[in-house]
Symmetry: C2
Subunit: 410 residues, 2 copies
């Protein structure tokens, strides 16, 4: 764990993916992130995959390196404790709805320096989640095989909850931006980040909204091809599928050389009167002819040969892996410094654990930390942040307002 944010204390009142991700990134940079949950676990506490003992592998990966405080959030007293923790901490990440028990304005009355980041569904307050904003974004109706009929093609959902993860990273950024503003001005502020805005806004930032408006219609189906460049999946003689991308002249030349297609490509250039090395444009417009050439060449070689040639030439390519393959891949996981040894996960199941995506040549990365048991840090945090005595905490526990570690209850 790096120490870049080791001076920060953050409260996270979160569920599902985007909000916990924002806290995770901060925690992996050294921030002291306390996740507050209802004592029975938040809405995401049992998210699949569950182990046979009833531990969520999703939860324990999205909440690594955090502390857990468990309160009876159905009681006024539990909610008051949560609000007091937020006020005493001054930094909040949450995806609670605007109308819930932790409204920024109310908290800010007694804590004007509060910086909060609130993930919403749609900007207008309608509920949303990754899969529903994705439906609205236009991407699912552009995804899937090229040969599917443009007008009748069904939507294809992304398996990756991409909007959640973009939103999570963006909210970690927004929190630090708001904090920087507070450091400079002394003033807190609320920042609202609608998941739906991240989706439609990313579509716009990518240039796709402008593109559709400029066209006055939808883009043609591309299947697995890269829009506006040379790239697609190919199939080797031994049935391995791999992706090849050539977006620069250098990548293009390397790819042509690796496929042994110098002559074939030159012949096609002569026939069409174009210079493929000169720009993406010709490579994209004539992609079908090129794909046919490249697929014929791919079909003549086993993948190991192709990969060796592509690597030697300096091309950009990658073999498709199933996720189970990826999870055990030496280069991707086992020998990748992104991953560290398994910490003592709540599930008891041991597997490589991620560090921060950013690696710092100047700092030791340290070992990844485990997610907490639910309530594991209730006593510690209530004592340290709220100054409650052990007697006061014991009474809150007796009365069911505060819960302690659920280590032995599953």
């Amino acid at each position: 764990m790096y120490d870049l944010l080791s001076d920060l204390k953050i409260v996270e009142v979160s569920s599902f993916v985007a909000s916990p991700t924002a806290g995770l990134y901060c925690a992996q940079m050294g921030a002291d992130v306390v996740r507050i949950d209802h004592k029975a676990g938040g809405l995401d506490y049992d998210r699949y995959m569950m182990t046979r003992e009833g531990r969520s592998l999703s939860w324990e990966n999205l909440n690594r390196a955090k502390k857990s405080v468990a309160l009876d959030l159905n009681s006024g007293e539990g909610r008051d404790l949560a609000a007091e923790l937020v006020r005493k901490t001054g930094l909040l990440i949450t995806n609670l709805p605007l109308g819930s028990f932790l409204p920024h304005d109310k908290l800010a009355e007694q804590c004007p320096e509060l910086v909060s980041v609130r993930i919403m569904g749609w900007h207008d307050g309608r509920q949303a989640m990754d899969f529903t904003v994705n439906a609205a974004s236009g991407y699912p109706l552009m995804t899937g095989p090229q040969e599917w009929d443009q007008d009748a093609a069904p939507p294809v959902n992304q398996v990756l909850p991409a909007w959640d993860f973009i939103t999570g990273a963006y909210c970690a950024f927004a929190l630090l931006a708001g904090l920087r503003h507070r450091d400079r001005t002394g003033r807190g502020l609320e920042m609202r980040v609608p998941l739906g805005d991240v989706a439609i806004g990313t579509m716009a930032n990518a240039g796709a909204m402008a593109e559709m408006l400029y066209r006055g219609g939808d883009r043609e189906r591309l299947g697995n091809a890269i829009w506006g460049a040379f790239g697609r999946d190919f199939l080797s003689k031994d049935g391995k599928r791999f992706m090849v991308a050539a977006l620069t002249p250098k990548q293009w030349k390397a790819t042509v050389a690796a496929f042994g297609l110098g002559t074939g490509v030159s012949a096609l250039e002569a026939e069409l009167g174009v210079d493929f090395a000169a720009s993406d444009h010709h490579r994209f417009v004539n992609r079908q002819r090129l794909f046919d050439l490249f697929q014929q060449a791919a079909a003549r070689l086993d993948y190991a040969d192709l990969a060796a040639r592509l690597a030697a030439a300096g091309a950009t390519f990658e073999r498709y892996r199933t996720m189970y393959e990826a999870a055990r891949d030496p280069v991707l996981v086992t020998d990748n410094p992104l991953f560290g040894p398994s910490p003592a996960n709540p599930s008891g199941f041991a597997y490589p654990a991620t560090r921060s995506f950013a690696n710092l040549p100047s700092q030791p990365a340290g070992d990844p930390q485990p997610a907490p048991y639910l309530g594991e840090h209730s006593e510690e945090v209530l004592a340290e942040r709220l100054g409650l005595s052990s007697g006061e905490i014991a009474r809150l526990i007796d009365r069911g307002i505060v819960a302690t570690s659920d280590k032995d209850t599953k």
Copy 2:
């Protein structure tokens, strides 16, 4: 434009998507972001969609609110100017390869306070881009229709370059984290963020890596269904497709009520001996039976009726739109405060432009800013940041080391 980062000056030496996105998010929060490019435009300057006049709609959306300095980066003198701008600025976002002309260690010799974020391909230095890291991540072989044969299913690439956008947001966060560390310690540092690590690390953070290792194999195909919960696309009587998601008891009850399926669901619960409201688990395990029920109900109503009922019940749902529809949608775009009036885009084409994804109730959002023309701010930035005189700048322009606005050259 918000002013949260208005005290920051950043240099971006970028191409494609991830790196420009990191700069974009900072610029939309008020940072003074100078993008330095080769005078003929970087590798991404002609990325599709291109207008008839030769302006990239991709570039002009990913580089909003930035300044542009154009230098002859093939010359030693141009590279020295770029390096000097980085040193004088002290914050760098780049996706230049490690071995290129802006290595952190070299720059830091004269600028120990430099904080740089460098986006890489794979952690081991191999080239990569969104589509190739995606191939390795396992997601493409899990995407696509449920009925496809698990072993023979082709990969389905994401059209959204999700890894690029997650990486971009993460790098904006990492930059501010590094800056906070510098503010505290006085020391600069280099942060390397491999696109490949973001992909494989996100797969792990999502719990999917642990899941595959725990299963000892790959997940079954799910098509458009949500893993571990109730959710899928349905088709209305009038042929509209929409996504429905019910991850909480409240969402589930709302969805059942909206579909008018109280009786049907109760009958199925009695038959199976389960309580669907009690947990995701039963809804997921019995999803096919439920999907059949819900699809029969959907087929009896037009979408407008269904949508009204779903909204009234408080369910989470969304109609699939094509991207052209999404781009013109009043709720998503035209009436959405995320978007502001079209600034004077380099393309001359007018369309709604994004603001920051975060909206701040306490600050006016201001109007979105346009991307610069290439080289538009060369003279201004060289004068202000390097203190060059107008005579010195004029000579650099005459000698082709510095280029000015390309406004009239396309």
